[in-house]
């Protein structure tokens, strides 16, 4: 340990080994798969909404990766079947998430398909779920004296909106809801080998 160069070379070689295993290995398996038949690419509006989801940091409270029934009751909660790598072929960047301060959203569109519900919930979550700790996003909406033609008026209980005003969704809110409603992976799972089946294996062995 008295020379700089060998130290650096070995250190880099170890990292290269890890990169081969953790980055190149999964990439070789995952990147070549075909999109599932039931999964459509995002539309332009959905992609704009997805960017809104990223921009507001929704991922820090909402995962998009239901676990298998052998591990956790995610299916029973209506979050959907365990997801596989094939469910994310159109996702860039990925939004798997690591927190469930809020529920999993991979099938939010299938579970909560009402546009009106989604808009009200984004404007003021506590108008629908009183104990919710989700942030309200009033800046995605406009409070107007009167709705103009073509405005999407959001149903908000009087106690949650400025007096005498109507709440109208801005384009950002409409896009975000488009994205949330697009979250639907209820088609049959494909490539179930490309997920962590470490919990199922235990069941089969025993």
């Amino acid at each position: 340990m008295n020379r700089v160069l060998p130290l650096i070379v070995v250190a880099l070689a170890i990292l290269a080994f890890a990169t081969l295993l953790l980055v190149a290995g999964p990439a070789a398996q995952i990147r070549s798969i075909d999109p599932p038949e039931g999964l459509a690419p995002y539309t332009a509006a959905e992609l704009r909404g997805r960017n809104e989801y990223i921009s507001l940091g929704c991922v820090y409270c909402h995962s998009q990766q239901p676990r298998s029934p052998e591990q956790a009751p995610d299916v029973l909660r209506g979050w959907g079947r365990p997801s596989t790598a094939a469910d994310y072929v159109y996702d860039e960047p990925h939004l798997l998430g690591t927190m469930r301060t809020g529920p999993d959203l991979l099938n939010a569109g299938a579970r909560l398909p009402s546009r009106a519900w989604q808009l009200t919930h984004l404007y003021q979550p506590r108008a629908i779920v009183p104990q919710s700790i989700m942030p309200a996003f009033p800046f995605l909406f406009e409070a107007k004296e009167q709705a103009a033609q073509g405005d999407v008026v959001v149903k908000v209980p009087a106690r949650h909106r400025p007096e005498g005003k109507v709440i109208v969704a801005r384009q950002e809110a409409l896009d975000l809801v488009d994205y949330l409603l697009s979250l639907d992976r209820t088609y049959p799972a494909e490539r179930t080998d490309l997920r962590d089946n470490g919990f199922m294996a235990q069941e089969e062995d025993s």
Binding site: M1, N2, V4, L7, A11, L12, I14, L15, F17, A18, L21, L22, V23, G25, P26, A27, I30, R31, I54, S55, L56, G57, C58, V59, Y60, C61, R67, Q71, A72, P73, P82, S83, A85, D87, Y88, Y90, D91, E92, P93, H94, L96, T98, M99, R100, T101, P103, P125, R126, Q131, S132, I133, A136, F137, P138, F139, D193, L194, R195, D196, G198
Partner: protein, 532 residues
Amino acid sequence: MNFTIGTLLAFSFAASLIAIAALIWAISTHQFRITESDARTVFGDEEGGKLDDPTSPHSDSHPSAVDPALSPEWRRLLIVMFVTATAWLVFGSIFGLIASLKLHLPDWLTGSAALTFGRMRTMHLNSVIYGFLSLGGVGAALWLVPTLFKTHLHKPRLAMLGAVIWNLAVFAGVIVIGAGWNDGLEWLEIPWQIDIFLAIGGACFAIPLLYTAAARRVNHIYVTGWYYLGGLVWFPVLFLLANLPGVHSGAQQATTNWWFAHNVLGLWLTPLGLGAAYYFIPKIIGKPIYSYRLSLLGFWALALFYSQVGMHHLIGGPVPTWVVSLSVVQSVMMVVPVVAVAINQHTLSLGNLWAWRESLPLRFVALGAILYTLASLQGSLEAVRAFNTVTHFTHYTVAHAHLGAYGFVALVLFGGIYYMLPRVTGRAWPMPWAISLHFWLVVAGFAVYFISLTIGGWLQGLAMLDATRDWLASMEVTLPYLAGRSLGGALMTLGHLVFAANLAVLFFGRTRRFEDDSDDVATPATATSTGA
């Protein structure tokens, strides 16, 4: 397919085991040319054997004398590093506190998108990781590497350019995250267009340190140097590969994301923290670490195992089973380097409890090193599938992340800065009581923070696994603990403000003036040894 993948998994694990066995053999049969006396490198030309702490009245070190080896450019660089690191700490703490409060006061400050939880939390993370911890850690390296190599810092102006570029890039990154532009990946939120400047800034730090290493005047590279050199070559590779635009997508991108994110902790912040701890603990106490050869095992085992643990963030997720299992196994193997480091550092610090009473910087550093051990052992446990099933997706993980990044790295940096700045500025800390106040505020605050989130997260996980309870129960059960976390976070933030105030008075106060002629600070006895 299963056969080849199973084989690959077995191969990678076997390769790691063989490497570690070879390492143990090499150490025990003296294949490395290191001896226990090399551990005394930290003492330089001095004997060691007595307390060395510029904040203690019972120490011989003279805080009023600037370290004679420091050239003016080098001094200015270190001051810029530590002052901007502290500024990022204050900003980052405020963002973090706001984010924490918003989790139990959801209708507070909802008027602007920049203030929403998802952005505040992300501005917090990027401020403290890339601002505070990276600048502070590299700042320590910019002082320790030349000091250990008995030379001066080469190319200090390039490093200063790096400090400016890095700060501007983090600033731009935090601002655009607040404005809603980010790359969408945890730990990689700063847009890649700005990351280019972080990479340039990082290179401006690495090149002077590599030049300095090449021009060293000692034969042996002390263990601190291994960690710093490792971190300096690892981070650029990680950062560049993970940020390549248009290359990664879908579930594959998730593996790259967590390969990067865990390696930022394991191969960047951990080396910065451990490198500093390996210097300051023996240096302040005046005695070498317990077993110098053991530190070799600690370093190489860290490199081998830590680099492969990232997929434990995707347990139960949509990535191949083998890669998750690999990371689970390597996470558990992390016990090896952690115990090696623990034996080395804690036997020394806990065997000299008098020094804990005597020296506040040591208290920070040695406590930080102990929390590294705890965070790492907890991390190994959390990677076990059964345990992870409870803690994944909960605040338990957030508590754990703070035990590592804050309890370990931040505390070590606090102690390091308290030790280094008197040497760099030639001034004693103007408010010694504030150091003690800082220590107790952040220790008490962090205890409240960690215990609250750990209990709350565990209950959250149990509730989420209980199919008979509505999901909402898993959120509601956390509320008192989230409020507890805000209380702890507020105390920590208060501690940081005390620290920043002490720093401000050090520079701008009237107590002990900065040398008027900062370009000519060498004391007569050592003027000739000034290299720059």
